[in-house]
């Protein structure tokens, strides 16, 4: 059979772009959470002090 659909060619540039975009997003979120957890801890210390 010759009319079988061919799999889409692998787009390495798109693969790398998505990987980079997700890695950046994850880095920002982890950084924000670290700061948030620091301030939560400070607030809790003040409550229980």
């Amino acid at each position: 059979m010759t009319d079988e659909p061919k799999p889409a060619p692998f787009d390495e540039a798109e693969y790398r772009r998505r990987q980079r975009s997700r890695a950046n997003m994850m880095a920002w979120m982890l950084g924000a959470l670290a700061i948030l957890f620091f301030f939560i801890t400070i607030a809790k210390i003040q409550i229980f002090a």
Partner: protein, 303 residues
């Protein structure tokens, strides 16, 4: 997750925008607002960072519920015009990633709530996520036209959780706010279901207009609007809120009932544009925002 680059058929990593879309951000905005109002109306002051973290936990819990809902309903979503473009039915995201994202987000939201507030609020948040996913999405929605009546409880939790996050206990006012959203949900969703009825019928979801017909749905919209209006005004005569909330709730509820009367008493033919139904649906969203805003305003400025 992404496979090795050396494989013949390599799945692309999910785009973060598709993961974000999985959390139903528009629904989340109402959840965040009502939860914030529940927290701000509480008679205690909470350090801003703890208040922010509690609201963030509620938002993430709602996002997790939305993601798990979309994971479970991907097949149904593909059959409806309104939802066919979502990341899973459109094929932009694989189900395994969506499931892992939903469970991970749910677990993190509970951890954050426990860390920032108290176990009572964490327990309520866990119940609301489990209720939405297991009771509403998996059990009620595909089985009964009463799905959104009972399932509406899941969306009613946020102000209660916000209040409990601030105080550590339940009180009559947040229970009344819970009741308000619970009774608001049927007219809100059935107004939508009336103008996207063919979508629900195509997907085989037993929404009220599909199962009981338009006439019965319209009557029930009016019925629920009336008891919702009573529940919305009740905190004022019962002494849990002041006149600012009382008058706002009265005026807005009269308007809500007037729009519901319009929807409840009309009959439509082929090709009807369903303008009154669309108007009621749009107004119902504004109604909830205004009333919850009034609860906070009333708490801050008594007239």
């Amino acid at each position: 997750m992404a496979q090795s680059l050396t494989h013949g058929e390599t799945a692309l990593p999910a785009d973060w925008r598709d993961l974000f879309a999985l959390t139903k951000p528009r629904v989340m905005s109402l959840v965040v607002f009502t939860a914030l109002c529940g927290l701000l109306a509480a008679p205690v002051s909470v350090p801003p960072v703890l208040a922010f973290s509690s609201i963030l936990a509620i938002a993430l819990g709602a996002g997790a519920s939305g993601a798990l809902n979309q994971w479970y309903e991907a097949g149904l979503d593909a059959k409806m015009k309104r939802t066919a473009g979502r990341p899973l039915p459109a094929g932009r995201l694989d189900p395994q990633t969506a499931l892992q994202f939903g469970i991970g987000l749910a677990a993190f939201s509970l951890f954050l709530m426990l860390f920032a507030s108290n176990w009572q609020a964490t327990l309520l948040l866990a119940v609301s996520i489990l209720f939405y996913v297991f009771i509403y999405t998996m059990w009620l929605k595909p089985r009964t036209p009463q799905n959104i009546v009972i399932g509406g409880a899941a969306g009613a939790f946020p102000p209660l959780i916000g209040w409990v996050a601030a105080t550590g206990s339940v009180a009559p006012l947040p229970v009344m706010l819970f009741l308000l959203i619970f009774l608001w949900t049927p007219p809100h969703f059935w107004a939508l279901a009336l103008f996207v009825r063919s979508d629900y019928a195509a997907a085989g979801i037993p929404m009220m207009p599909v199962v009981a017909g338009e006439k019965s749905t319209r009557r029930q919209i009016l019925f629920y609007a009336l008891i919702m209006a009573a529940a919305a005004i009740a905190p004022w005569p019962l002494g849990y809120t002041g006149a600012l909330y009382g008058w706002t709730a009265t005026i807005q509820s009269v308007l809500f009932v007037a729009l519901s009367v319009q929807v409840g008493t009309r009959t439509t033919g082929e090709g009807d544009l369903m303008q009154p139904e669309k108007r009621l649906f749009a107004y119902s969203i504004a109604y909830l925002f205004i009333l919850f805003g009034a609860v906070v305003a009333d708490h801050w400025w008594t007239i």
